[in-house]
Amino acid sequence: LKIALIGNSHLAAIKTGWPAETPHEVTFFGSPGGSMRSLKSDGDAIFSPDERTAHFMALSSNGKTRIVPSEYDYVFLVGNGTGPQRFMGIRRSHRTFENNLSSLPLVSQALWREALKARMSKGYLHGMIKLIRDHSDVPILIIPDPMPSEQIVNCLDEGYLWRGEIGVTSAKQAREWLESFRGQRIDVSFQPSETLAAPHLTKSIFSEGSMRFEIDQAHSENEYFHMNAAFGEIVAKAAIALAELRAPAFAP
């Protein structure tokens, strides 16, 4: 299979852990943060008019700044703001009663749940899928953001979110939201269970030594959201297996 992987900083773990023995031809297109939101159509290709994003795409793909979806047998969309924390958007403006360390305005658990739901219809994954579909009917596999490291529960400012109901609910809602993309030659490769410490947390061994996307440097110790090459390998293998399984059915 000829596979394009398009993603944000979470692509780094998959790239560094990509299993060498796979027979598939693979190209990585990545740029950190939400910069892939800038992707646009141009003729038969997708590109970013943003110089920094184009620079990172070229860096990750050995020089390519244009993605031509019809050239690939499969597109993997990696990360792209699909983790449970995206459903916790209000954590920076509000808090629940459980968090008595912050002076942010209080909201009830019930309202928090409503705010999480409201986040589902937003984000740039929809836009990326639409862009690809404008060019090609290529099968798409979504590889969501990893769950944060289990160490996050000890984090002073955000730990409370992951210790209680909010973390579990957010992960559940993220999963439900991602499930809704299934069909129309789109599938989701959820995080393999062997990497999970809980449904909403990744085993901490997989976040140790995770590399930053933009520079050849490890993330700081208290960075809980990015994973290492060992994690990337497990996730990549699971995704490849799913793609190989689906490919015949998805064949034109």
Binding site: I90, H94, A110
Partner: protein, 336 residues
């Protein structure tokens, strides 16, 4: 000589009302002072005040929102949780006593008694029992949320240049010993009614007047420039706890509130009266109500607000936020 001779047109029913279109009720409302776009407006009151709030916001008036909802949630969900209905998340304030009590609480002169109500293992703020429809996990959470709310109400009263208040009811329920007045009877949505602890009260015009004077003086002490715009809700009572027929109780209540409002207008030059009640409730405007003869029709609200904007400027009296009004009173019917 006849004392009516020479009186202006608006003093005569035949000239000023009969046959007049609703855009042509000259002189029914003559502003006492202008309401400006850059006024910091705080709104509160009974259900009808929600219409005023929405129309003011939609027409670019600066209605304060000291308790905004979390970003990204819809207007409908925000309103379900008591946000964006008024300038703070206090829900409907039907009586002048409740308004004065809230201001006292904001400036630490009052603490409500029996302020946390329970229902099926979850807890509610007795002073705004519908703000959290699913209730809260423990009394401590209710009190923490209330403390935060009260801080914001205090900030709002300190910075408002105009308080818009709609008088809704004279009937209320209160805690006998402390005098704490509740917006809804205990036991309707939560809590438990206990005749040894709670009593029914039907305020007189003098009491309504005194309560609003109390509120005014609390605000003026911290915010001397603040002005007030009052109105009487045209919405009839949904139920009465008095021994009168509901129609008689409604008329008495509205007459009482209207009297108090007039007394306030005559006493204080910083209080204006907006006659939406007169426009909507008189025989002049039979289509101002929906078929239940209680809910004010869009036509009724639009006409009232057109009258307001004709004096204060405003593009479109029919412009409003999409969400419906939140009328806690209806819960009395639903839970009884």
């Amino acid at each position: 000589m006849n004392p009516y001779k020479g009186l202006p047109e608006h003093n005569w029913w035949r000239h000023a009302v009969e046959g007049r279109s609703r855009n042509d009720l000259i002189g029914l409302y003559r502003k006492r002072f202008p309401v400006l776009r850059d006024d910091k407006i705080a709104t509160a009151g009974s259900c009808f005040a929600q219409h005023i709030t929405k129309r003011l916001r939609a027409n670019g008036f600066n209605v304060l929102d000291v308790e905004p909802p979390p970003p990204g949630i819809s207007e409908q969900i925000a309103q379900k949780f008591g946000y964006r209905i008024y300038s703070a998340r206090y829900g409907n304030i039907y009586t002048a006593r409740h308004l004065a009590q809230l201001a006292r609480e904001a400036f630490k002169k009052f603490t409500p008694v029996d302020a946390v109500w329970e229902r099926d293992g979850v807890y509610f703020d007795a002073m705004r029992p519908t703000a959290e429809p699913e209730g809260l996990s423990c009394p401590g959470e209710v009190l923490a949320m209330r403390a935060e709310h009260i801080r914001r109400v205090a900030a709002m009263l300190r910075k408002a240049s105009l308080v818009v208040f709609t008088f809704g009811l004279t009937e209320a329920w209160r805690h006998k010993q402390s005098g704490t007045v509740y917006p809804m009877a205990p036991g309707v949505t939560a809590g438990e009614y206990d005749s040894a602890k709670h009593e029914f009260v039907n305020f007189t015009a003098q009491q309504v007047y005194d309560d609003f004077c109390d509120f005014r003086s609390i605000v003026k002490r911290r915010n001397p420039q603040c002005k007030f715009l009052v109105s009487v809700s045209p919405v009839p009572l949904i139920a009465t706890a008095s021994d009168q027929h509901i129609l008689a109780a409604t008329m008495q209540s509205k007459a009482t509130l209207r009297t108090a409002a007039r007394m306030l207008y005559e006493t204080f030059t910083d209080i204006d009266y907006f006659p939406s009640y007169e426009l909507i409730s008189s025989p002049y405007f039979p289509s101002a109500f929906e078929s239940d003869m209680r809910s004010v029709s869009d036509e009724g609200v639009n006409s009232a607000m057109a009258m307001f904007f004709s004096e204060h400027g405003g593009k479109d009296a029919s412009k409003k936020a999409a969400a419906a009004t939140v009328c806690d009173e209806k819960l009395i019917e639903a839970f009884t």
